[in-house]
Symmetry: C2
Amino acid sequence: MALEKYLEVLQNELDTYQYGEKPKELYEPIEYLMSLGGKRLRPALTLMAYHLFEDDWQKALKPAMAVEVFHNFTLMHDDIMDEAPLRRGQPTVHEKWNRDVAILSGDVMLVAAYELLSESPGNDFKTILKRFNRTAAEVCEGQQMDMNFADRETVTEEEYIEMIKLKTSVLLGFALELGARSAGQPEEVVNQLYEIGVNLGIGFQLKDDILDVYGDPIKFGKQIGGDIIENKKTWLMLKALEKSEADSALHHWIRAEDFEPQKKVQAVIEIYNALGIKELAEGAMTKCFNKGFEGIEKLEVPEERKAILRGFAEWLFGRDR
Amino acid sequence: MALEKYLEVLQNELDTYQYGEKPKELYEPIEYLMSLGGKRLRPALTLMAYHLFEDDWQKALKPAMAVEVFHNFTLMHDDIMDEAPLRRGQPTVHEKWNRDVAILSGDVMLVAAYELLSESPGNDFKTILKRFNRTAAEVCEGQQMDMNFADRETVTEEEYIEMIKLKTSVLLGFALELGARSAGQPEEVVNQLYEIGVNLGIGFQLKDDILDVYGDPIKFGKQIGGDIIENKKTWLMLKALEKSEADSALHHWIRAEDFEPQKKVQAVIEIYNALGIKELAEGAMTKCFNKGFEGIEKLEVPEERKAILRGFAEWLFGRDR
């Protein structure tokens, strides 16, 4: 069994799923956003976790899709809030249609996620639902924290980790948990998988912060330094500010209103390099991934079942896109 | 047992329910909107329906609250789309905070509705969830249809009834259905209650359309003729257009861009009066309510249990606010 097989079957299910028909302004944006692709890593995690314990992994397709649809719902609404023109290189829903369509179509998408979730196998659906509710609320809390940070002068490393944990990691944790719960695993095992997902998730986001600055623009598929241009309070930026004197060159670039984007990116990267920020970020990221890897090793499942989850985590750790 | 008792206990539950704490931008708007009041008729319907069959009606409080929280979630997002400055005479959430807060806080509110729903009693929660999903999607479909109608030249009476059925009535139907399902009633009884709610719901919305034109501004709590000023395609307007010649005085007032609001309201009401629109609307409304009343009479429950639901429907029918 290889990751590609999960993704192929999953993609087919996503392509043929009927979200609804009329009015078309409500359902076409869902199909559009879902068709733009993405790594599908959250549903892959659910399938892998279920398959650690049960052979019939196709039974976990619907809950896996629930996680992916939920994730894309958050993207549709976040893109309105961020006024983002592009998503995966294509116009965002609020740009292609309009704001109201993006709000309402997103709402229906959240409802669709619950409908898919209701198809979860296993005997304790109410616990699955309550855990999904908690996770969904936390993702919104993370998004609100992120927006609040943008208006603040300073953010501590601890606050930043808490924000990305809520905004990104808990959903990766839940994706694994959902697979284990759907397979009827006991709380102890469910919690092990959740913790693995949360640790991989924090590592995943730190990797994203690093790739924004040090990635290969062709492979990463985004312009390098976007976070720097926008003064986004990433782990790298916060650490660099922590290591800078008051009123440093970095502060100057952050305050600058009139600048050439490429010049600012270049200058900030030089400051990062002088302060050794890349190595510090990679250290913090590696620590999170290692916690995840340790969690995977501790799982009491046959070695051949573990291999695919470990391989997936290794890919997340080493990815350059 | 009187309606006031339900509403008193319900209000107390709503006042003390914890939606969440941090970040406060996410949860304060929920508490704010819920504190603005409203008739609470949807949760009252759930409690009444449950109480038709079971004594311990307090057990249906959480699902009843789910319906009310869901309804208020739709108001929070609809108010953004309608760019409404006021809700129940107070600033809307997007005015008091901002658009992004209203989007995200609304999202969490929908999640909170699912969390409350998960506390429904009864042995078939998955069916309750699936029916709630369907209803929630329909309410969004109705809202999208309503927005589409605003951009259209003509709307038929049939299309209008379909729109208000989705936007308003299915949730009243579901509120009653939810009470019956929570009380473990068979599908036949569940469907009877759903149909009663849908018919009362259409009647309720037609009453709203009538009160906007013919209500007492003091009792109704809104300025009279708001729908007329905005050219809203209500049942009355559509019927009047149907009965008017091409390029009539009504068409003139609809096209007018520069007008004194009170003059337009007065003129359109005179057109309505000349065409007998009020009587036609009251006829259509009465027909819907009568279907609802007939449904209530057919319910096989002890007379004394029926009385409160009948009384409530009579109040909806006769209300002047």
